[in-house]
């Protein structure tokens, strides 16, 4: 059972590894970005897909990672690895504090509270404009974007760094959701009252799930800044909270590979339709509506329901 999951995950990683050598430059470059976004969505999926916490504020954690790395590298002159570590700590702390407060609410209240915290975070990034350059953002020096001899601003360096982080996240999440911890999260999602009755400390478990989720999202934000050389307040805006929700719902909430599928789908939906018409967001809107009507569990969720019940 669990072997099949691990095998599937390793196969996906192997395919992504090979893709770099097979795909044309444009698509392998895009895939590097998609993997970073998929990491973000995987983090989101842990909270939403597995634990049932519908957050509209994950951009706060993404931005905490992005600025945690960007500001320490650019203003503090830190090297990539310690800056990345600090970014993880920053997003962990932010997620920890937000979790303590926001988890007192549930349902729509939780949505709004997380949305408010993220909005406050966005405005904070604008407020400290002398450090963050606000909406304009800032460039992270190309020379600093390296780990030892590996140049992360080169196409290969970027791709394999993204793949490495993606692989680690996928394997960790794959193991996590199979472990008793992950099983309990699903139990909370399905019936919180029953989980409480069974003696689980539901509040604490939800908090841990949100903190892990936020930290992974922060890792994605830090990776974006490191690999693409830019940090700016637009990544802290509402729409970057909505993106991972879309990816997860499209790919399939509560599936390990759904976030990746969703991120690939959305990227190419916009990229291809923008080649046909200016109204690509119109097409994206129509596709979203159609998907919710005809593929309610997302791509992998529907596949799991109809054909492959073992899908992780």
């Amino acid at each position: 059972m669990s072997h099949r999951d691990t095998f599937l995950h390793l196969s996906v990683i192997a395919v992504l590894f090979a893709a770099f050598f097979v795909l044309p430059a444009y698509h392998s470059g895009s895939l590097a970005r998609i993997m970073v976004l998929a990491i973000y969505a995987m983090g989101y999926n842990l909270a939403f897909g597995y634990t049932g916490l519908l957050s509209l504020g994950h951009a706060l954690f993404f931005a905490a990672g992005m600025y945690g790395l960007g500001l320490t590298m650019q203003l503090g002159g830190w090297a990539a690895i310690p800056a990345f570590a600090l970014a993880l700590v920053a997003s962990l702390v932010v997620a920890g504090v937000v979790g303590v407060l926001a988890l007192r609410t549930r349902g729509v209240g939780f949505m709004i509270v997380t949305l408010m915290f993220a909005q406050a975070g966005y405005l904070t990034a604008l407020y400290f404009v002398q450090y963050t350059r606000g909406d304009e953002g800032f460039v992270i020096d190309q020379a600093a974007r390296a780990i030892g001899p590996a140049d992360l601003s080169s196409e290969a360096g970027r791709y394999f760094a993204a793949l490495f982080l993606f692989a680690v996240t996928l394997l960790v999440i794959g193991a996590l959701v199979r472990a008793p911890f992950g099983r309990t999260l699903i139990a909370i999602r399905e019936n919180e009252a029953r989980a409480t009755m069974l003696g689980y400390d539901v509040q604490r478990l939800k908090w841990i799930a949100l903190v892990v989720s936020g930290t992974i999202s922060g890792a994605a934000g830090a990776a974006y800044a490191l690999l693409f050389g830019y940090a700016g307040a637009s990544f802290a805006g509402v729409q970057y909270s909505i993106f991972p929700l879309l990816y997860v719902l499209l790919g399939g909430a509560g599936t390990t590979l759904g976030p990746l599928i969703g991120a690939i789908f959305m990227f190419y939906l916009i990229d291809l339709s923008s080649g046909i018409t200016n109204a690509y967001m119109l097409i994206a809107g129509v596709v979203l509506v159609l998907l919710t009507m005809f593929l309610p569990h997302g791509i992998l969720g529907t596949l799991r329901k109809r054909a492959l019940p073992w899908l992780p």
Binding site: T105, Q119, A120, L126, L245, L246, G285, V286, M293
Partner: protein, 308 residues
């Protein structure tokens, strides 16, 4: 400006914001109260109301008052009809499943926004107010001869802004009469309390839902028609009203109509007043965090009942 007149000005401006917010949020609240769905496209219905108002006023091209009154009738009707159609075509088919509704309305948001960009264009378009006079306001102070009246520099409001406050209150009053005194309102309230029971008593719940969804959108459109002579019609204008309406509905207690109005006044006024004391962006940060904290420590909202 001195503190007193400044505070008064901020409160007057806050009252205008609160009036529009009350209308827009009421639309969201009615929909949530009756149908239990979160409509992310609500801000786009607001935007459509403003755009249609511009279109009506520009097409008629007569006296601004004629165009304005026509817009006040036509825009809510059109937007309401569109929303009802969306309800029948999309939301009914996904059974109002909470998560799917959010995604579907996000899709609807993109469709409406992009459709407007393609037809109406990217520019902000003004609508002329039916009337607009600057009214300088007096203030009192202790002078040498006791209490004296004087006219502080800049303390003023326009007649149209006062009209907006009155008109919003009138519309909300009419809504209250509709909900409490008419048969349609009774049916709505019955559906809100227990949709299964309502269905058992022969109420066409699907039709009620479509009408409620249309009514919610029409209220947002009315708010937009009132505000568009002050602000302008623009295809991205729906974003902030959506966020603010959300906040108001939650703070007021989900689905509680009086709560929504109280929360709208609170949020609208505080937005103006906090800006007197803090630097503007810091004020926004504090106001946002304050809203979050209210929800954290009183999750059921101000007037909501404690969840069972």
């Amino acid at each position: 400006m001195e503190f007193g007149p400044h505070l008064m000005l901020a409160m007057l401006e806050g009252a205008v914001t609160a009036a529009i917010l009350a209308l827009t949020a009421m639309g969201l609240s009615v929909v949530f109260g009756v149908m239990r769905v979160v409509n992310v496209a609500h801000g786009e219905f607001y935007m459509l109301g403003a755009v249609i108002a511009w279109f009506v006023a520009a097409t008629l091209g007569t006296h601004p008052a004629v165009g304005f009154v026509a817009a006040l009738v036509i825009a809510p009707l059109l937007v309401g009809a569109l929303a009802s159609l969306a309800d029948v075509l999309i939301l009914q088919r996904i059974n109002y499943d909470p998560e799917r509704t959010i995604v579907a309305t996000i899709g609807l948001l993109y469709i409406l926004q992009q459709g407007t960009l393609m037809t109406f264009g990217p520019d902000a378009r003004p609508v002329e107010p039916p009337f607009n006079h600057r009214l300088a306001l007096p203030w009192v102070e202790w002078g040498e001869q006791g209490l004296a009246l004087y006219w502080p520099w800049g303390l003023s409001i326009t007649s149209y802004k006062l009209f907006v406050i009155v008109a919003a209150a009138a519309i909300l009053g009419a809504l209250w009469l509709f909900m409490t005194r008419t048969r349609a309102g009774l049916v709505m309230r019955a559906t809100q309390q227990d949709s299964n029971m309502a269905r058992a008593f022969g109420i066409p719940v699907a039709r009620v839902y479509a009408l409620v969804f249309g009514l919610g959108a029409a209220l947002a459109a009315m708010g937009a028609v009132l505000i568009v002579p002050i602000q302008q019609a623009h295809y991205l204008m729906g974003h902030d009203p959506l966020l603010l309406s959300f906040i108001v509905v939650i703070i007021g207690g989900l689905g509680s109509l009086p709560g929504t109005i109280i929360a709208a006044i609170l949020i609208g006024m505080s937005d103006g007043i906090i800006s007197v004391f803090f630097s503007p962006t810091l004020a926004k940060i504090l106001a946002t965090l304050a809203v979050a904290m209210v929800l954290v420590f009183r999750p059921q909202g101000l007037l909501g009942k404690k969840a069972a």
